[in-house]
Symmetry: C2
Subunit: 399 residues, 2 copies
């Protein structure tokens, strides 16, 4: 007798970012060097204080941490926010296993099966998987490459709100587009949440990585909104420590925090060594984030200047994170991504990108776009984007 998995498991999408990995492995086995622009895994060294803290771990027993997090780690997150003029009590912060866990817990805390969350398309793939896990309907509002993926007009967003809508999920600056939403846009979302009594789930993983002297207006600056706001955060990108899996979820809504705590108890705790290792940089974040920002600014400029040289590629210069999602002259970005790994190389080198299809609810809309994560040195990025240009020409000639 055949035994079936659940419908939610069956329907859960695969990660757009990771599904091409087997093809990349195959290319590497053939001796081809692959420039990875497909995943937000920065190449920069992890700050020394983190590595040193790991090496200095000196307990005899690797014990469970408290479910809410190690006290000192919570205090360190509090200090991190304080340094950004955002005030959370320690009881308003729970340490999570990366930003991802915080998002999952927040999703489950505000929705029941069949409830809706508003997201802006293209959106971070994991949102769709998390929605599948919790039987949540994502209402995806379109944003367009021509307008730099900024928000649609207020009236369009309000029209998407139904009786079932429980919240708005967004990431500023945005993954996958690199768009920094303006203060006006942030205010508009706050207004909508207040008017329609919705939660805002604010993914702030990239918040300090913004260029050209811009600065993100945090939702926490709207006092009226505090009871409706859940912040999900992560050390991964700003401290080059993706593999530590340390994040946090923070909210001034006591009922929300109590519920997240109940859920968090089911997974007992977050890894002890990693929680301890992040303390030194969280309490002294500025010096790291300033440098990280400078590095990505130079990298963005390199990618932008190289992309401009490729015929048929269009985009608005992104202002944050380390992503860009240009339109490129191809019929099918999935096929093009496979072509890059299977059929193309120049001097035994190729490039791996994320087809944009996985960032859309309707994959069709992503067929003419790709996401580039500019997480390599400028020199490598120059070579990688030039490889992309060559591959585009070859791909289109082939047809």
């Amino acid at each position: 007798m055949k035994i079936n998995i659940s419908e939610r498991a069956f329907k859960s999408p695969a990660s757009a970012i990771r599904k091409l990995v087997p093809l990349a492995d195959k290319a590497k086995k053939k001796g081809i060097k692959v420039y990875h622009l497909n995943i937000g895994q920065p190449d920069m060294a992890t700050p020394k204080p983190i590595i040193n803290a790991i090496k200095k771990f000196s307990r005899d027993t690797l014990e469970y941490a408290p479910s809410e997090g190690i006290h000192e780690t919570i205090a360190a997150w509090q200090k991190f926010y304080h340094d950004k003029s955002v005030k959370f009590d320690q009881s308003e912060i729970i340490v999570t296993s990366g930003g991802s866990e915080g998002l999952i817990l927040a999703f489950l805390t505000v929705t029941d099966p069949g409830d809706e969350l508003i997201v802006f398309e293209p959106f971070y793939t994991s949102y769709a998987i998390m929605a599948a896990m919790g039987n949540i309907v994502l209402k995806a509002l379109p944003t367009e490459v021509e307008t730099g993926y900024h928000f649609p007009p207020k009236v369009m967003i309000e029209k998407a709100i139904s009786r079932k809508t429980r919240g708005i999920v967004l990431c500023n600056p945005n993954n996958p587009t690199g768009t920094m939403y303006t203060s006006q846009e942030v205010r508009m979302i706050a207004d909508i949440a207040l008017k329609h009594n919705l939660f805002i789930i604010s993914d702030e993983t990239y918040q300090e990585i913004v260029f050209d002297d811009k600065k993100v207006l945090p939702f926490m600056s709207f006092t009226k909104l505090h009871n409706q706001l859940i912040v999900a955060d992560s050390v991964s990108k700003r401290f080059n420590s993706c593999g530590a899996r340390i994040g946090c979820v923070a909210s001034k809504n006591k009922e929300v925090m109590a519920a997240i705590m109940r859920f968090a108890q089911a997974r007992l705790s977050v890894a002890t060594v990693d929680q301890l290792a992040l303390i030194p940089v969280l309490i002294n974040s500025r010096q790291y984030t300033e440098q990280v920002k400078k590095n990505y600014k130079k990298r963005r400029d390199m990618v932008v200047s190289e992309l401009r040289k490729i015929k048929g590629v269009s985009f608005v210069v992104p202002e944050g994170a380390f992503y860009i999602m240009p339109r490129i002259p191809v019929d099918d970005s999935d096929k093009f991504a496979e072509f890059l790994l299977n059929d193309f190389s120049d001097h035994r080198e190729t490039v791996m990108i994320a087809p944009a299809t996985g960032f859309y609810k309707n994959p069709q809309k992503g067929k003419d776009k790709i996401r580039i994560a500019y997480v390599l040195s400028e020199e490598k990025l120059q070579r990688a984007i030039r490889l992309l240009g060559m591959a585009l020409e070859k791909y289109n000639r082939k047809k």
Copy 2:
């Protein structure tokens, strides 16, 4: 306007094991020493190779691990099973953040909202929280202290199966009762799963910790069952490394593993340092588990002999894990647990236990029982159980 959390978040129970923590903190602030028998956090030292591997971490960048786990960590889990004569391919193992994450992913993979999983009551509290997260109905079949919490007759289990039942969840030896299910019982569950086309979610966290020369019959020994079996496992207890948060989920059902992998991609990866740190003990597990087993055997014997001296306490000697759930002469185990922390001490010492109420769907059934985790030295256990005896007398005299 008041904004509400979701019904599933509202209804999620708090962990029975952790909810008394604030009272224990208060007692400690008053200068009272608390013997912790409330949580399965062993006091034994973590094996040196784990601590040494952490200290030797030498990468410059703390990168994401693959979503399925670091290749060498998967290979190490495979070796661990191989040494128990259980054969999994590497593609049949995904590294998880503790056993808990594996259980959550398995629950979501086999059920849709409203579907049922059969558990045996008293059951591990986290099952109820995980069920709340996924809107799963737990069908709790009673087991009794008088019969050592062994399974009810087959006919009773089969009677509980409905059109909505998707699987049976169990832990052998069991948390919270310490019961080791016999080969006959394991075979009975396998038969039921085969006959009714159900999944078995087998929590094997304590599998080597069994006494008196007994041995658990693994579900993997039934070849016919392979397509219906999901193993959730953890390094926490057998290697005294709860804070590492390393576990795995393993199944020969390809569809199950593909679905778990899709879900796992949403959380990106498990902490890199911890995955690497566990490799040396996973590939050479016997020497650790043998010693661990010996230690707990002595501790169980101490607890049992001390409990026997207390009037009105009844139990069947448990054969595994490091738990015992005796019936004790109290009106309300929650009140008694609070009494221990708030109102009782002898020479400025007291003991913390887990009231059994949290291990039952209907808390009423646990009012006359407590769970003891014997995770302290024999000497401390002797003192702790004697404190329990004194407290029982005082508690009942007070009334």
